[in-house]
Amino acid sequence: MTNVEINTYLAFGYLGWIIVYLITYVSLKDRSRLSRIFWTALLVLWFVHTGSIALRWAESYWMGIGHAPLSNLYESLVFFSWSVALGLIVVWKKFGEDLVPLFGAPIVFLILASTFLIDPNIRPLIPALQSNWLVAHVFTCFLGYAGFAVSFVAAILLLVSRASANIASVLPDKRLLDEIVYRSILIGFPLLTLGIITGAAWAEHAWGSYWSWDPKETWSLITWLVYAGFLHARLSRGWSGRRTALLSVIGFCAVMFTYFGVNYLPGLHSYF
């Protein structure tokens, strides 16, 4: 079985997990064992996901064009969904809150499912992509994005919770959600910083210019500035609740534009 086939089953695995968890969550009264079962199931899915990425890495070597599976749109989408799943698992473990993973898992599914529309073939690396900085850059950027994605999920839940008291009664406590919004950005932000720095190092080696204000670089900076604003607003000005949740949502929109939107602008980064 190839990694592409595994990814296909995996996408439906995540979807099935979401649907079954949602149904049982809503119908059952005693949810304590439920949490354990679905926690384990999510872990299993994530391990399979990890295996699929490792398999793709191995497959590229068997084909004689070995490289880390982080070099094109297909691979980055698979890795992004893997990181978001990891982020959800970490939040579940640290905060003991199972609704954020439940509402976040659709994002994992959607990203993985979108790969069905993309060319999944393993291709050899063109010269510009043959660099260890590439691996470090893509790795840290997407882990950062995962942190922001988790924050986004908690922020949406918080905003919905504030909008309606009925819904708020089934959602986690607002202060807990607020804490998740903040803490996941606290993890994502340094990772994004590292991602930008390693990207600059790679650009310096490949093209002699660590920063050329091309749309992708600039948008990653814009994303960085929004989250820097978030951290200052939270830590120094005491913002919390609705305002920080909104900032988290805006930040995630910037993340999405940095990842996908820039390909529709003129520039250098459109490998995809």
Partner: protein
């Protein structure tokens, strides 16, 4: 730091304005505003194509918008007056905030500011020295180190401080950002970027500046000895490599290979392998099968007239088709001889029948393109400053995220046959967790009874 009312700052107008300016540069509100303003400015620089003449941007048919676009340098946002000003303001703002906060950090570091965040009181029937041992063990388990113990007039004071280096995190992060901006400024003012297209075998010391397209001269000459192009079986480029020699005043000073992601640097000027062009044909490979069966293969210069072995005639290559037809690449040749009419013919790589001239069978085997290598030339005096700034920034993050300043103070005094224990603590991060772990740990020490004083 809150802003006092203007009536409190004094009557003089100039004092008030100075204060406003100082407040502007030390306020985090300014920081947040500047961060978002720079972000919005940068967005403009991505949606409007940069570096192109404003006439080409369609929406500027409207004269008012056009004037506006000219004033704000909409096609060169990142070097525009307002964008650079925003960056400068941000730098000054960071400086201001650092100046304001560093004295406080220094005080905290030297333990002069020992304001604790919580205070717990206990009483115990045990004597001071017994309690001291238990509490010292407790403190060591929580803080991971031994206490500073002081005894005076019957009171035992035990102090623990953990990871004061945490305080270095905030200044490092912000100094790092300032250093990065400074490095960028250095590079922007004194750095340059250019491009040179050099044919295999050629030497040049000129290059074209980006983006102005002016020609500049390097302090040394570059000779391209060889350009190699390797492709994957699927046809995509695997590696391009230029083997070059640098020379000054006729003397070779450095030689090496330039590959993508592996530049060559001399005296701060770096040469990068950017791209390449095919600008001609270097050699054509032909095979000649003579009438006696002997087989000769020759790589020939396509510009020369070639003697055909086993014949008095000569062959000249007129043009080369790199592969527009199914028969693959091919050459168009003319054959001239003393005893024959000039003849034109074509030979393709995949032709089964050779061209015959006076008993010699000629076949076209292949060709080597003449390449010109595209080198990117860069000089950036600020780049090491930027990397220094990045290191400071990363170090600052590590300290901020992975260390935590914590203090614990336990005072034991004897009081009318019992002992009073006062426990106070402070944690820069995760305050609640710190306090909870202290309270839980102390609750396990059976001989301590919690006192709830109204002034606690």
């Amino acid at each position: 730091m809150s802003k006092p009312k203007s009536s409190e700052t004094g009557s003089s107008e100039s004092v008030s304005i100075l204060f406003e300016i100082k407040f502007f540069f030390t306020s985090v509100r300014t920081t947040i505003f500047l961060l978002f303003a720079i972000a919005i400015g940068a967005i403009l620089g991505t949606v409007i194509p940069q570096g192109e003449s404003l006439d080409r941007i369609a929406i500027f048919g409207n004269p008012f918008l056009f004037r506006l676009a000219v004033i704000i340098d909409l096609n060169n946002v990142f070097r525009s007056w307002w964008f650079v000003s925003l960056l400068s303001l941000l730098t000054l703002n960071i400086f201001g905030c650092l100046f304001q906060r560093i004295p406080l950090l220094l005080k905290e570091y030297h333990s002069e500011n020992t304001k604790m965040s919580f205070l717990l009181r206990f009483s115990s029937p045990l004597g001071t020295s017994e309690l001291k041992d238990q509490l010292l063990n407790f403190g060591r388990s929580i803080m991971g180190s031994s206490a500073e113990i002081a005894e005076s007039s019957g009171t035992v004071t035990c102090k623990w401080n953990k990871q004061k280096i945490h305080l270095l995190g905030f200044p490092l992060i912000h100094v790092g950002i300032i250093v990065i901006l400074l490095g960028g400024l250095l590079g922007g003012l004194w750095g340059y970027k250019g491009h040179a297209l050099i044919r295999e075998g050629d030497t040049t010391d000129k290059f074209t500046l980006i983006p102005t397209q002016e020609t500049q001269t390097l302090p040394f000459s570059i000779t391209v000895d060889d350009f190699t192009l390797l492709k994957y079986p699927t046809g995509e480029p695997k590696e391009f490599r230029s083997d070059v020699r640098l020379s000054q005043n006729g003397k070779d000073i450095q030689s090496g290979s330039i590959r993508v992601n592996h530049p060559l640097t001399y005296e701060g000027i770096s040469l990068f392998q950017a791209d390449y062009r095919v600008i001609g044909v270097k050699t054509v490979k032909l095979s000649f099968k003579l009438s006696d069966g002997a087989l000769e293969e020759k790589s020939v210069d396509p510009r020369q007239q070639i003697d055909i072995p086993g014949s008095q005639s000569k062959l000249k290559i007129r043009s080369l088709d790199p592969g527009t037809v199914a028969k693959g690449p091919g050459i168009q040749v003319s054959v001239v001889g003393q005893t024959r009419e000039p003849e034109s013919s074509s030979m393709y790589e995949k032709d089964t029948r050779p061209m015959a001239v006076d008993g010699t069978e000629i076949r076209f085997i292949g060709f080597t393109p003449m390449y010109a290598t595209g080198l990117q030339i860069g000089y950036d005096p600020g780049v090491y400053v930027v990397w220094l700034g990045c290191s400071l920034l990363v170090l600052g993050f590590i300290l901020t995220l992975f260390t935590n300043l914590q203090r614990l103070l336990i005072e034991i005094k004897a009081h009318e046959g019992t002992s009073i224990v006062v426990v106070s603590g402070r944690s820069r991060k995760l305050r609640r967790e710190f306090r909870d772990s202290i309270e839980r740990g102390l609750a396990r020490l059976a001989e301590l009874k919690r006192q709830n004083h109204h002034n606690q």
